[in-house]
Every structure is written in structure tokens, then in C-alpha cells.
């Protein structure tokens, strides 16, 4: 009886130990899986290469920010370091499996993830015929347009626009008050009448002039000159006709040769 109890106790104890073992191993496995996935995301377990890029202004890019290629996250920023007073070195760690898509003339630019999101680096692949970028190689960069630059440009544009509108305002006032030539044309009715009269006079004068010219042509002193001119014109016309005939003949010949 007593022995029986002992053995059942021992069995119970082994059972408990097994249960404990299962419980602990499941928990540890769970922990390792989570660590693996987080590490995977940070590329601890994939082969990576590093590439460098220099920017004038990284606009808040930080270590650990994502690197994207065609919109897919392929790596992270390893280091952001000030090199000189105007350049910042950015070291990127990217998956080796995408190295073949990134050419030597690929361009990296800094963008942002959504409207208020973190800064990311976007890589645009270069010419498909150029060489693949090397591990530790340097990638071309485009300095991002910062909001400050846009604001500065906008300020300049509005200043210019203000100047132009001021000028236009002065001009329109002048026109309205009838100052200057354009103002007179638009606003002065008397001046408009004068212009009208001038045009009528000019028309009449032109009619008189053509009569005069007819008279001159019939004058005996100048008749010879006009006849000579008529003859020359007729000659030129004949020559032009001859040339045209020649050209058509040549074209026909060419056609014949081609047909043959």
C-alpha cells in the first residue's frame, strides 16, 4: 500500500515535470520567434550590403529609418553623420538580394512616409545598362526640396506679383484719367473723332495718288520705261514655262528608269 502510494507519487511528479517542461519550452519558443521576427525586420539574419550617400540636408532622417526601392522597404539607415559643414553622410544597410536592381547611377532621395510620417530614403533605379552598385559604393543623391525653400520662393514670387500689380494699377489709372496716348485713345472722344477724320482724309488722298500714277504711265517721257518693264516680265514668264517643262520631262525619265 505504502509502496503503491510512493510509485504513484513518483509518477505524478514525473508528469508534473513534463508539464512544466512543455510549458517552459512553449514560452521560450514563443519568445525566440518574436525575437527572430523583430530581428528579421532589422535584417539581423539576412545578408546585407552597405551603400553610402551624401546629402546637404537630411531633413530629420534618423538611424533606423527605412530605405525604400520601388516602394518596398529593402533596408534601414545605419548611420547619419556630419562630414563637413555642408554635407551629411548617410550609410544605408540594404538586402543583398536587391543589390542587382540598384545600378551605379541610381538616385537616392529623401521623402516622407505619409503626410506626417517618418522620413524615408527612396531609391530610384538608374539606367538598366549600367553596372550594379558595389558593396560600400556611393549612390547619387538628390537634395530634397525643403518646405523652407518652397516658402522662400513663394515669398519672392508674391513680392514680384505685388510690384507688377502696382504697375498695372498705375497704368490703368492713367488710362482712365486719359493721360498718355493710350489713355487719349480710350477716353478722349474729341481725339477719336480727329482720328476718324484723319483716316477719311488718308483714304481720299490715296485715291488721288493712284490717278496721278495712271497719268504718269501715259506720259511720253516715261512710257519707254514702263514698256521695257512689260517686255522683261513676259520674257521671265516664258523662261519659267520652259523650266517647268524640262523638270516634268526629267521626272518622267526618272520614273521610266525606275520602272525598268
Amino acid at each position: 500500500m505504502n509502496e503503491n502510494k510512493d510509485t504513484s507519487n513518483m509518477k505524478n511528479e514525473t508528469g508534473n515535470r513534463i508539464r512544466l517542461g512543455v510549458f517552459v519550452s512553449i514560452a521560450i519558443a514563443l519568445f525566440i520567434v518574436v525575437i527572430y521576427f523583430i530581428g528579421n525586420r532589422q535584417q539581423l539574419f539576412t545578408k546585407t550590403i552597405t551603400i553610402n550617400g551624401t546629402f546637404e540636408d537630411v531633413g530629420g532622417l534618423r538611424e533606423g529609418s527605412n530605405v525604400r526601392f520601388t516602394g518596398i522597404t529593402i533596408g534601414t539607415i545605419d548611420k547619419v553623420e556630419i562630414m563637413t559643414d555642408t554635407t551629411v553622410l548617410v550609410v544605408m544597410t540594404i538586402e543583398q538580394s536587391v543589390q542587382k536592381f540598384i545600378k551605379e547611377d541610381a538616385i537616392a532621395s529623401i521623402g516622407s512616409d505619409g503626410l506626417m510620417g517618418n522620413k524615408v530614403i527612396n531609391i530610384v533605379s538608374g539606367n538598366p545598362n549600367s553596372k550594379v552598385i558595389a558593396d560600400g559604393g556611393t549612390i547619387n543623391t538628390v537634395t530634397p526640396v525643403s518646405m523652407d525653400d518652397i516658402m522662400n520662393n513663394l515669398a519672392m514670387t508674391t513680392a514680384n506679383a505685388a510690384l507688377i500689380t502696382d504697375d498695372i494699377a498705375v497704368l490703368t489709372t492713367n488710362i482712365r484719367t486719359g493721360n498718355g496716348a493710350i489713355g487719349k485713345i480710350f477716353m478722349d472722344t474729341a481725339f477719336a473723332n480727329t482720328i476718324d477724320a484723319t483716316f477719311v482724309n488718308a483714304k481720299n488722298a490715296a485715291g488721288g495718288f493712284s490717278d496721278n500714277m495712271e497719268a504718269v504711265k501715259h506720259n511720253f517721257l516715261l512710257r519707254g520705261y514702263f514698256k521695257k518693264k512689260e517686255k522683261e516680265a513676259a520674257k521671265a514668264q516664258k523662261e519659267a514655262e520652259k523650266n517647268a517643262a524640262k523638270q516634268t520631262k526629267e521626272k518622267e525619265k526618272e520614273k521610266d528608269s525606275k520602272d525598268k
Binding site: 511528479e13 510549458f23 514560452a27 521560450i28 525575437i35 523583430i38 532589422q42
Partner: protein, 259 residues
């Protein structure tokens, strides 16, 4: 007791308690590295503390994840950011809520258990009997329980976190349709080593605090049968308080070192 420092009686008691607890902790560190090691007793205590609390922790963890998701949803929905729900719940569960709630539950269950057990052994003079028979009661009773609590609480926390994420998955799917893979990839995506490791390390301290405080309260009890209930009660109260204090220190240290 003679009045030496002219402190109010309650304050004097408090400092005497701190002193006794410190000595007790020192004694633990002196003892636990010396052989012989009571491995089979440690494993038995692990079973009692860890495996026996599993059901409780599972249910709490599941409800934690579910409720946290349902409660956070309206706030995020106001910004149209329901898609952040998995990430947000995962971070808050693993960084803070999982460890603290699990530790508090265990302080209630394990702390009161150890406190009452050791106190009743003390008042029935079993501890004295052990000392007479040549076994080191401190080593056999205290060290094993403290080590078991220290190893088991982190493992229970991992379970609670995992179950909590499953609960959160169900919570998300009450209102939305999110696939299991998408949910977990979003949850993992929002996590970082900075979220996981400090939270994991502090659970060891939670476990240690639960073990050492409840053992101290049980081991040093007086006043007979009445002392057993008192020991169990004060063990739970002090454990819970210490968990919050350790949590605060851990968060401060983590944010100091990780940034």
C-alpha cells in the same frame, strides 16, 4: 524597544521593516550560491508557481488584449487610424500591461500562497524542527521559492503577452476584418528590441520581488495562527506595491539607457 532616534512609532516600524527585509535579501544572496542546490525542490516550486498559475494568467491575458483593443478603438477611429490598432496594442501589451498585470496577478496568487505556507510552517515550529534536523530551512524553503518565482514570472509574462495578442486579434475582428497574418505582421512590425528586452528583463525583478517579499513575510511571522493570515495579507500588499515601484524604476532606466 528603546527610542534612539526619536522617530514616530509608525516610521520606526517602517525603517525596522526595511532593515529586516534588506538583511533577509542579503542572506538570500549569501545562501543561494552555496551548494548543495535543491534542484528537485526548485523544479517542484516552479511547477507550483508557474504551471499552477497558467490558467489564471491565460484568462487574464486574453481579457487584457481583448478589452484593450475594444477600448482603444473609438479613440483611434476618431483619427481614422484603426489600422494602427494591432501595433498600438502590441506595444502597450508587451511594454507595460502584460508584465505588470501578470506580476500583480501572481503577487496575489503566489505571494499569498508562499506567505501563508511559510507562516504556518513557522508557527507550527516546522522550520525550527528542520534546523534541528540539520537541513538549512532557509536554503530549502526560501531560496527555492525565490528562484522559482524569478524564473517563472517571465515565462508567465511571455504567455500572457502571447495570449493577449490573440485576444487583441479577436477584439480587432469584432468590428473589422483583419487576417491573422496581417494582424501579426503589423503587431511585430511595430515592435522593436527596445520594446521587448527592457520589459523582459524587468519581469525577472518582479519575480524576485514577489518571491523574496512573500518569503520574508512568511518566514518572519509571529503571533501564532493570527500571524498566518497577517503574513499572507501583508505579503500581497507589499508585493503589489513593490511591483509598481520596480516598474517605475525600470521605465526610467530603460528610457535613460535606450535613448
Amino acid at each position: 524597544m528603546s527610542k534612539i532616534l526619536y522617530l514616530p512609532a509608525s516610521m520606526e516600524d517602517f525603517f525596522l521593516e526595511v532593515d529586516a527585509l534588506s538583511r533577509f535579501t542579503g542572506r538570500f544572496f549569501k545562501t543561494f550560491l552555496k551548494p548543495p542546490f535543491e534542484f528537485s525542490e526548485i523544479i517542484k516550486q516552479c511547477f507550483m508557481i508557474g504551471y499552477k498559475s497558467l490558467g489564471l494568467v491565460t484568462v487574464t491575458g486574453f481579457i487584457m488584449g481583448l478589452v484593450l483593443t475594444i477600448q482603444s478603438r473609438p479613440t483611434l477611429a476618431r483619427f481614422g487610424a484603426e489600422a494602427w490598432l494591432p501595433g498600438m496594442v502590441a506595444v502597450s501589451l508587451i511594454r507595460e500591461i502584460g508584465p505588470v498585470i501578470t506580476a500583480l496577478i501572481c503577487a496575489g496568487k503566489v505571494g499569498s500562497g508562499i506567505g501563508a505556507e511559510l507562516a504556518s510552517m513557522k508557527v507550527t515550529e516546522q522550520i525550527d524542527a528542520m534546523e534541528v534536523s540539520g537541513t538549512n530551512p532557509f536554503k530549502y524553503l526560501v531560496v527555492t521559492r525565490v528562484l522559482a518565482a524569478m524564473f517563472m514570472i517571465p515565462i508567465l509574462v511571455i504567455f500572457a503577452d502571447g495570449i493577449g495578442l490573440c485576444g487583441s486579434f479577436i477584439g480587432v475582428n469584432i468590428m473589422d476584418q483583419v487576417g491573422l497574418r496581417l494582424y501579426f505582421s503589423k503587431a511585430i512590425e511595430s515592435l522593436d528590441f527596445v520594446d521587448v528586452f527592457p520589459a523582459f528583463i524587468k519581469t525577472f525583478f518582479f519575480g524576485f520581488a514577489i518571491g523574496i517579499i512573500s518569503c520574508y513575510k512568511g518566514y518572519t511571522t509571529t503571533k501564532g495562527t493570527e500571524g498566518v493570515g497577517l503574513a499572507a495579507n501583508s505579503a500581497v500588499v507589499l508585493c503589489s506595491l513593490c511591483i509598481f515601484i520596480i516598474d517605475m524604476i525600470a521605465v526610467q532606466l530603460a528610457s535613460f539607457f535606450m535613448n
